[in-house]
Symmetry: C2
Subunit: 332 residues, 2 copies
């Protein structure tokens, strides 16, 4: 098939946006970059290839004028500027009005009906009006704790409960992530920061909601809890040293309740002292299922999921959709 290439505008070229863009650059038969937006003065005016770390320049310069770049002919915008919907909503609205489909790394956009139902409805309406598709995704939320367990239920006649545990080894991850999970803090400082929601993985409630959406469940309530994981030995990473009794990371639970029962239970551990990383799921139903996946890598796999979802977003019907609404996303 000599199909027409999908023309892509890059919107946000921080570490995650750049990593996602590099995945699209691995598929030159499918995607071509036609514009790029970033507000960082160190990037504006530079070539995309140089900034995202491709072996050569590609002849597309980064601009700080979204309006001008979005006026170009393109099928897709790869959006990677923030985790919170209220923060990125004006950007999304501008992209939609420019008639571009959106695949975004915004965690809250993965299932915005959970925490921002009014914004979700507005964006959905706008996307339908401009006949574009909008999807937020990534490894988590977007795949490991929601889409994957939902896809596993294909083999079940009935499902009564979905339980998922994800353990992330943060010891070799970016400094920003190690800080985000509280590594090196005292328990008191962690608890204070967690109470202000300064420390937490964003997206667990969205994942609970995605599981429910995938299974057609109405939940009464979604409850999130957070606690520190405490070091029992001295741990040294490239970015932080954690002494015994200090915090190595975070354990979060997201629970989806219906009629007083836990229907969805998601447990996420992210620590610099996670001896083994894995993704485990238990589907209670007919039949019962157990799955164990090893090898999903936070940074590499987030970029992969976003890049792999891109063509499905372009093909999909207009509206604000989620990963459980898209055709099977795969590495192509």
């Amino acid at each position: 098939m000599a199909a027409k290439k999908i023309r892509v505008i890059l919107y946000g070229l921080g570490p995650i946006g750049a990593a996602c863009a590099r995945v699209l650059a691995l598929r030159p038969e499918t995607y071509v970059f036609v514009g790029a937006v970033d507000l960082d003065p160190n990037k504006v005016g530079k070539d995309v290839g140089e900034v995202i770390g491709l072996p050569e320049k590609i002849g597309v310069k980064i601009s700080d004028k979204p309006g001008r770049v979005l006026a170009r002919d393109a099928e897709l915008t790869l959006h990677a500027t923030g985790s919170y919907l209220t923060q990125v909503k004006p950007q999304l609205a501008q992209i939609i009005k420019a008639g571009k489909n959106i695949v975004s790394t915004c965690e809250e956009l993965s299932n915005p009906w959970v925490q921002n139902p009014r914004d979700a409805d507005e964006l959905n309406k706008l996307a339908k009006q401009y006949r574009v598709t909008v999807v937020g995704t990534g490894i988590n939320p977007g795949y490991a704790m929601d889409t994957l367990p939902v896809a596993l239920t294909a083999v079940c006649q009935t499902v009564t409960r979905v339980r998922v545990k994800r353990v992330v080894d943060a010891s070799k991850r970016r400094r920003q992530l190690q800080q985000k999970i509280g590594a090196g803090m005292t328990v008191e400082a962690f608890n204070a920061a967690a109470a202000k929601r300064e420390i937490r993985h964003v997206g667990l409630a969205e994942s609970v909601g995605l599981v429910a959406r995938g299974l057609g469940w109405q939940l009464d309530e979604i409850i999130e809890t957070i606690e520190p994981i405490v070091a029992t030995r001295r741990i040294v990473t490239d970015h932080v040293t954690v002494k015994p009794h200090f915090v190595t990371g975070v354990r979060q639970f997201g629970r989806g309740l219906y009629a007083g029962n836990d229907k969805v239970i998601l447990e996420l551990e992210m620590a610099v002292d996670a001896p083994e990383a894995y993704d485990e799921a238990w589907i209670e139903g007919t039949p019962n299922l157990h799955s164990l996946v090893k090898g999903i890598h936070g940074d590499i796999s987030t970029a992969a999921v976003v890049g792999n979802a891109a063509r499905r977003v372009v093909e999909a019907k207009p509206g604000l959709l989620t990963m459980v609404d898209l055709p099977v996303v795969s590495a192509r």
Copy 2:
């Protein structure tokens, strides 16, 4: 949502067709049966509920006149009459011309371009002409050795090889299945029957092709091999007794080659002496992945996959599609 129910015609009510129908009957808010076809004189004239084992009659009688039943208003036909495409093609054509979407248990229909490309193209054209969607599915081919590993690659930036091993414990399965895998035969009788393709799991080549389709790979060749698994002890099931040195079941390999390299390697073991059933996959790429799923049950899960795919088939665009083209299939 008070969505309109999907009206379903049942076509073929043997053990598998009946099991699939029971899954749809578990979702009365989504599906309603409006007709049923079966040629078995013991079933014709009887109520569907009685024949498929529902707790009560449903007021729909089984007919041996497909033309009359297909004239009824319906969105979907659940088709379960055979494994081979050439065998069921006239039935499929008749259903398509009656304007009904089809979800079928026909193994070769899961990816008919592999062994029957001309028939596949014809059915695809016909389906588009009549604006209906046609999908063949089941646990294998359709999910365990193809769609699931393809869905796992969502987290990979690149994939170089997909390797899958499925071990099925046939000791508690239907007599027909135990016979199909050669349980109780001598090695000589097994080899003679296998050479005539009388003993084999149908669909391994289709699964190899589905993996390639999901990853956008062109294969040069698909090679299937088959060998007996031989008993090292006496094994007794409800249907067969296997003495040492006799056959307990079958081991099949399906390999997809490109430029002399094994890109897809599927290994299927089905035996009455499989100590532990599981589905394992190794994705070689960036990153490498390993998955292990326990609990997928051949009969229960085939019916589940077919029943769960039904609503996706009705929603999908017209044409002959495969499981890797459909939105995430889940238990709802």
